[in-house]
């Protein structure tokens, strides 16, 4: 361990920064491709969280909803593919009827699980953390058990969506080629995510629905006094948000991967929650945080695969790979603690709303 301070002392900081920039520019293509791919499920989970919590419902069941949807989508598409036989995919995204039905099934499943969460937290008014935990534990158990049962059948699966693909001329455009390459080399769900982020951001801060949603999350009683049904609004938002997490699950088992795997979310829903907090409960912020976390993954993989030479390589060699996995949580704790710009949750987040007349 005595080597660490010694190595750091000997390195001038400025040189190190330049070396890091050089290394990043050199490897920008693979790092950005990884970043965008890793960020998709995290961003979708985070968007689901934003929609719930902005209207005042805490949803930590994101991981479970994604897992259930990954299973339901994959299984539905495999069943349909088995029933229909091989079909020629559409020219765009390699979509087949089976895959499209799979995504629809995933969305329906996501909305149903979210409806359960909505009922638990809005009507039954239980502790919303416990409601989400029930979903997480239940999802891991149910999907694991069902997958064991299903793996006894001879399912070949329905394949996967294919990326849009980028022509070589576009990918090699100077300065922005890497960005176009990373963003456009996505399947339908990945590309939709970017569109959802933009629409959601505009809707949340520029529309009547958005104003009511934010108000219901900050001061539901005030919203109720002007004649808006807070309960219904929260129900609608929570159920709609389920579709977003569902897309994240479908992405795992049908767009990026080709089949379901027990526990395949592997913590991505929880990192999504962290992204929501770091992004200060705004869609664009959450997406940015997801990209930030994902870029840490991209950088750490890059360092593992082709370590930089010289002093920079020496510094990185002292960072264990577990540090990069922990980075999203470390950033979240730092931001929650208010060290770097405080992130404040909606005031009525997690508080069940009770009508005056009901009490």
């Amino acid at each position: 361990m005595s080597g660490i301070p010694g190595a750091l002392d000997a390195i001038p900081l400025i040189g190190l920064v330049f070396q890091l920039m050089g290394y990043l520019i050199e490897n920008i293509n693979p790092i950005s491709a990884t970043t965008v791919a890793v960020s998709v499920p995290i961003a979708l989970a985070a968007l689901c969280g934003v929609m719930c919590e902005r209207s005042g419902v805490v949803n930590i069941g994101l991981e479970g909803i994604m897992l259930i949807c990954a299973f339901v989508g994959w299984y539905a598409s495999a069943l349909v593919a088995g029933a229909l036989g091989p079909e020629a995919p559409f020219p765009l995204f390699g979509a087949t009827p089976a895959l499209l039905i799979g995504v629809l099934a995933a969305i329906v499943a996501g909305m149903l699980v979210s409806l359960l969460h909505a009922w638990l937290s809005i009507s039954a008014r239980i502790d919303q953390i416990i409601g989400g935990t029930i979903i997480n534990i239940g999802a891991a158990g149910i999907t694991g058990y069902l997958y064991t049962l299903v793996s006894g059948q001879s399912l070949t699966g329905a394949g996967q969506f294919t990326p849009l693909g980028v022509p070589q001329e576009v990918a090699t455009v100077p300065l922005v080629g890497w960005l176009l390459n990373a963003v456009l080399n996505q399947g339908p769900i990945g590309l939709t995510t970017i569109i959802i982020v933009i629409i959601f951001q505009i809707m949340l801060f520029r529309s009547r629905w958005g104003l009511r949603t934010r108000a219901a999350g900050e001061h539901p009683r005030a919203v109720e006094t002007v004649g808006i049904d807070v309960i219904r609004l929260r129900y609608r938002n929570v159920v709609m948000s389920g579709a977003l997490a569902a897309l994240g699950g479908a992405w795992l088992s049908m767009e990026y991967g080709t089949q379901f795997q027990a526990n395949m979310t592997n913590g991505r829903g929880f990192i999504g929650l962290a992204a929501m907090i770091v992004g200060r409960w705004s869609p664009v912020g959450a997406f940015g945080a997801a990209l930030l976390f994902a870029s840490a993954t991209g950088l750490s993989l890059s360092i593992t695969i082709s370590p930089p030479s010289g002093d920079l390589g020496n510094v990185f060699s002292y960072i264990p790979s577990e540090f990069w996995d922990a980075l999203p949580y470390i950033i979240t704790i730092v931001i929650l603690a208010g060290v770097v710009g405080r992130s404040i949750a909606p005031a009525a987040d997690g508080q069940p709303y009770e009508r005056e007349s009901a009490s």
Binding site: L120, I134, G138, Y145, G157, N263, I305
Partner: protein, 396 residues
């Protein structure tokens, strides 16, 4: 309104816990669904319904029982080929054979016990996961022969499974009726490396393993590198590992596997990728297909076991599970078998590479001849297929 939901919530919470428990203890949920070995209609359920001699075999005949890993028996993977080997031996010996597919890890021991209760002569258990339960059963039933596929029995001084992997006890003397089938992975890797060097256009090939402290993974990779260099000395072999300690990332996360492999392919600019990493490695095959490069599978013929990557799989470095299991059972029947580790390699048809089924790959005309020559040299014991520190990763 407020009373009823609270009870319902308690019910939900309980059912969630039950569901979670079920995934690890399915035995309690469906005890009747587990077929007893006697009730298993062997010929009907076999992957290749070629023989039915076993069903009518008399009760006093030599009996073979196979406990597979979870999944199904016709998985085109470890389960299928191990069972195939048991069936081949049964056909040759006029013995009866049946199998059990555990629903989850908690059923390994009870399924082995079912065969013990039926006075089965040889019990074959498939895969590393069943290793400890097999050792326990072998200790409790010294008269029955146990064949543990792909397991190096690690026991303490009393012959019990050693979870610390200190392996103080000598399994061969403590458990003389337990045979652990092991393979010389470096020979299979060597042949795969020759193929990789032959199909590579750029002369830069890659390989990705699960964890660098797993000797079997490392043997494959050391063989691959030597084989590639032997075919073409100018070839560059880039190696990487998915993780340094996280088992899930290393062997169970295909999404991470694909991410890692895509970045590996684009940074190292390899045009052939060999994977030694289980389900994570399947993500590597996906990544190779997505990048339009060739891939090489591992352990079994992945052209068959992982068809979604068929368009880029050239071949697979194979363990000949059926051959190894069949030979072991025949040796037991003949009375020539000994306890301990039974090593399979080229000399006893234990390893090889899969047939070239991908017609879109053009192979150099000299490849088959060189492969045959290498295999012959391995059989003769004149070809070095591993480094001096075989099984220990010393690379960067």
């Amino acid at each position: 309104m407020a009373r009823l939901p609270r009870k319902a919530i308690a019910l939900l919470a309980v059912s969630a816990l039950v569901a979670a428990a079920c995934s690890s203890a399915a035995a309690t949920a469906s005890p009747t669904a587990t077929p007893t070995p006697a009730a298993t209609p062997t010929p009907a359920a076999t992957p290749t319904p070629a023989t039915s001699a076993s069903a009518s075999a008399p009760a006093t005949a030599f009996k073979i029982g196979v406990v597979t890993d979870v999944g199904r028996v016709d998985d085109k993977n470890f389960n299928q080929y191990s069972y195939q080997g048991a069936k081949d031996a049964a056909d040759a010996l006029g013995a009866s054979v049946s199998y059990l597919v555990p629903k989850d890890a908690t059923e390994y021991a009870s399924d082995i016990q079912q065969f013990v209760d039926q006075k089965t002569n040889v019990i074959v258990t498939v895969g590393f996961n069943l290793g400890n339960d097999t050792i326990k059963a072998a200790k409790a039933n010294p008269d029955i022969w146990f064949v543990a596929v792909d397991v190096a029995p690690c026991v303490d001084a009393t012959g019990a499974p050693d979870s610390t992997f200190a392996c103080k006890g000598d399994a061969a003397t403590l458990l003389p009726h337990l045979i652990g089938i092991q393979f010389q992975e470096d020979q299979a890797g060597y042949l795969a490396g020759m193929v990789a060097a032959a199909v590579s256009k750029t002369g830069v090939i890659g390989q990705l393993g699960g964890i660098n402290s797993n000797p079997a993974v490392v043997r494959y990779m050391q063989g691959y590198e030597l084989g590639a260099k032997a075919y073409k000395s100018s070839v560059t072999v880039d190696s990487g590992f998915f993780s340094t300690g996280d088992i899930t990332k290393a062997y169970g996360d295909p999404v991470f596997g694909k991410t890692f492999s895509q970045q590996f392919i684009s940074q190292k600019k390899v045009d052939v990728l060999f994977q030694v990493a289980g389900a994570t490695g399947n993500g590597a095959l996906d990544a190779a297909c997505a990048a339009g490069i060739y891939a090489i599978g591992v352990d079994v013929d992945q052209y068959q076991s992982y068809p979604s990557a068929d368009k880029c799989i050239v071949t697979s470095a194979e363990k000949h599970l059926a051959s190894a299991v069949s030979q072991t059972i025949k040796a037991i029947n003949a009375g020539t078998a000994k306890g301990g580790i039974s090593k399979f390699n080229a000399a006893n048809d234990g390893i090889g590479i899969s047939a070239f089924q991908n017609t879109s790959v053009t192979l150099p005309s000299d490849l088959q001849g060189k492969l045959d020559a290498a295999l012959a040299a391995m059989k003769a014991g004149t070809l070095t297929t591993c480094t001096a520190q075989c099984g220990t990763w010393t690379g960067k």
